[in-house]
């Protein structure tokens, strides 16, 4: 028996994490993500988990990575400024292939910006924010229900691919209250264990090594330095670095189709909206006003790795319109992959596009 | 027990020369194959640990072993004395 509740996105995020078996939360208060930490502080100790309020976001993500290496599911939640602070250790998590979940309830930036307003300005930062080459997974919910579902899914993806996984929500979804159905249990997929006789960072064809958390008797050395399959630093051999970093990127990018999660509406349309997160809700409103099949909609629940093949599910597409709450970030990715004209429709300031704004763009580019 | 310096680890810092109360280590003079001048042993049988560790069942002194930054100093079991024939040709 599932239960139905009326709650805000941030609360649903905490519920999703708990349902997925998250038992460690390290965080630092920051608007508009604080409710996630508050909910975890209330719920985790009763669920046999650990909530710890760290001294800053650098420490939060560090504690999460440390906890993740003991084999528990661990997460943190933050917003723009804290997300910027986390960047170095996010690169560390990517380099050491640590499964962990980072929630970013996006707000207006740069700097302190608009703490209580929504934005999607961290989409490129989450993909490219740490130095060096790596790849990550980023999920973008557009409703409270999806926040629950995708939070739970983020843990599975993090475990399966041994990669830091991001839930890139925003102030609108985080603070919006909606009906949400919470199932009694969600399916959980954990990392495959490190096979007997395998080296700790020795990967098979899928590029993902088995996971031997601390205490499993394998004496794993985890380092952010370029390392070989044993986990030992090997910082000067160009081939070793090439092999490692190409694998880190390929294990995610080559699984794009398996990771992809998107919705296609009206595939025969000539004008196609490409959205992720809450701008999709305005598009859905506009589409209700355009009952014919002239307007298509591609809604991404997974933005990174970018599912470029999804753009080609619209064979008659003549124009792609990309409304986002930034000055044009994911639109660059769309431009890279299609030959048709792509219209960026960035909006900053903290409010969603109004249906009228989208209709104007639609009329102008039809 | 016999005191040994692992030449594959020793970097020739001579801290053992500084700390050994019995003066068993002497600064070496010859480069080894790794280009390092390792200390040499001077009558190592004077080392208390060599002689008495088995009797007391624990490490005695052991300062050289503890301070050696390169984990190069240790004790190995000696083969027990075996009498053997020596033929002397005149």
């Amino acid at each position: 028996m599932s239960r139905v509740e009326f709650m805000q996105g941030n609360a649903a995020c905490a519920e999703g994490a708990l349902a997925a078996g998250c038992r460690f939360f390290g965080g630092y208060p920051i608007t508009p993500s604080t409710e996630i930490a508050e909910a975890m502080a209330r719920r985790l100790p009763k669920a046999g988990g650990v909530f710890i309020s760290m001294e800053d976001e650098l420490a939060s993500i560090a504690a999460v990575i440390g906890a993740a290496w003991t084999g528990v599911r661990a997460m943190t939640a933050t917003s723009g400024p804290g997300f910027s602070l986390m960047m170095e250790n996010i690169g560390y998590a990517a380099m050491t292939e640590t499964p962990c979940v980072i929630v970013n309830v996006q707000r207006g930036g740069p700097s302190t910006g608009q703490p209580t307003r929504a934005a999607q300005g961290d989409m490129l930062q989450c993909r490219f924010g740490s130095h060096g080459d790596y790849s990550i997974i980023a999920l973008t919910p557009n409703s409270v229900q999806e926040t629950f579902d995708l939070t739970a899914k983020a843990f599975d993806l993090a475990d399966r691919f041994r990669v830091p996984t991001f839930l890139m929500t925003d102030e609108i979804v985080g603070h919006m209250r909606e009906r949400v159905t919470i199932p009694d249990a969600v399916d959980i997929t954990r990392s495959s264990p490190l096979a007997e006789g395998s080296l700790p960072f020795e990967a098979g064809d899928d590029g993902i090594p088995g996971f031997a958390p601390f205490g499993s008797g394998r004496a794993v050395h985890v380092t952010g330095l370029t390392h070989d399959e044993r986990g030992y630093p090997d910082t000067t051999d160009p081939a070793a670095h090439d092999r490692l970093v190409r694998r880190l990127v390929a294990k995610v990018e080559s699984a794009r189709r398996a990771i992809a999660d998107y919705e296609v509406t009206n595939p025969d349309a000539g004008t196609v909206f490409v959205t992720y997160g809450p701008p999709s809700r305005t598009v859905e409103q506009v589409m209700r006003d355009y009952p014919d099949d002239a307007v298509g909609h591609l809604r991404l629940r997974v933005v990174w790795p970018f599912p470029e093949f999804a753009l080609h599910e619209f064979p008659n597409a003549e124009t792609y319109i990309v409304p986002e709450l930034n000055m044009g970030q994911v639109v660059r990715e769309v431009e890279r992959h299609v030959d048709q004209p792509v219209v960026p429709l960035g909006k900053i300031g903290g409010e969603l596009h109004t249906p009228a704004e989208l209709v104007r763009a639609l009329e102008a580019h039809r | 027990m016999k005191l040994v310096i692992d030449e594959s680890r020793c970097k020739g810092c001579n801290l053992c020369v500084l700390v050994c109360p019995y003066g068993i280590f002497r600064e070496g003079t010859e480069l080894n194959s790794r280009g390092i001048v390792s200390p040499v042993l001077d009558r190592p049988e004077r080392c208390t640990n060599c002689r008495l560790q088995a009797l007391y069942g624990r490490m005695l002194c052991g300062i050289c072993h503890m301070i050696c930054p390169d984990q190069a100093i240790s004790w190995v079991e000696e083969k027990p004395f075996e009498p053997h024939r020596v033929e002397v040709e005149f």
């Binding site: 290496w69 084999g71 499993s216 | 810092c13 801290l15 984990q71």
Partner: protein, 262 residues
């Protein structure tokens, strides 16, 4: 005695320079681990960045070599998630006092049950000898070519003030005492901080007329004064030399601790 089966023999010799005190501190820590009888699959070594932080890479157990300054935050995550683990953190003066200063005081305040061994060589060694927050006033380094003009941190006193349950300071010359202090720290529930003053002949000694290993060791030894002796001098109203540092056990107490094995 150092537990030889706790060394990753395939990685030795380690990267430390000739005469570096860090190797000695590894010995003392492993001797303490041997004394405690810890099991390999219940022990985790954590470190940040720097010369000191390479140490876990030579120890045969689960080890986490993390980012600069954050070792204590990572270790807090490990210990809080799995209190049954024995957590030891190797850190250096730059790692702990400069970039990781905030994590240091908060780890002391939380009193998370772990043992932190700080190899304080008064310098950023890995990057070639720049002045750190513990470089003594007047000392020459590559970034303090006219002598260090800032006052130095007293890390052990800082740990006491911030609330650690066990704090001691020794040097890499006092191997037996250092081993005993680390063992005592491991036994004490809560945050144990052991500062080991180590010699860095390559990057500190070279610029400060302490070029040889014996000269550096002698410098450290002659500037170390037992806390009891310092206190006696103060009691008797006799002058305490300016340039000494105290060695010994600064505090052993029983503040409420977090992450203690249940």
């Amino acid at each position: 005695m150092i537990a030889p089966d706790w060394l990753r023999e395939d990685r030795l010799p380690h990267i430390y320079c000739t005469g570096c005190g860090n190797g000695t501190v590894i010995n003392c820590t492993l001797a303490a681990v041997e004394e405690m009888g810890w099991k390999r699959d219940e022990t985790v070594f954590v470190s940040g960045i720097g010369c000191s932080s390479r140490a876990p890479g030579y120890i045969l157990t689960d080890s986490l070599h993390t980012t600069h300054g954050r070792a204590l935050a990572f270790a807090t995550g490990v210990k809080m998630a799995r209190p049954e683990f024995n957590v030891v953190v190797f850190t250096g003066d730059g790692d702990l006092a400069a970039i990781g200063g905030n994590h240091f005081i908060h780890a002391c305040r939380r009193n998370v049950d772990m043992t932190v061994v700080c190899m304080n060589n008064h310098i950023y060694g890995m990057t070639g000898g720049q002045g750190s927050p513990t470089t003594p006033p007047g000392a020459i380094s590559t970034t303090t070519p006219y002598g260090m003009s800032e006052p130095a941190f007293d890390l052990a006193e800082l740990a006491v003030a911030a609330g650690a349950n066990y704090v001691a300071r020794w040097t890499s010359y006092h191997v037996k005492e250092l081993t005993k202090a680390i063992t005592a720290g491991m036994r004490t529930p809560g945050f144990a901080f052991i500062e080991a003053r180590t010699q860095c002949p390559t990057n500190y000694g070279r610029h400060n007329k302490l070029r040889t290993v014996p000269a550096m060791i002698e410098h450290i030894r002659s500037h170390a004064m037992l806390i009891e002796k310092r206190d006696r001098l103060v009691r008797e109203g006799r002058p305490v030399p300016e340039d000494i540092f105290t060695i010994g056990e600064l505090v052993r107490r029983n503040r409420p601790a977090m992450g203690v094995r249940r």
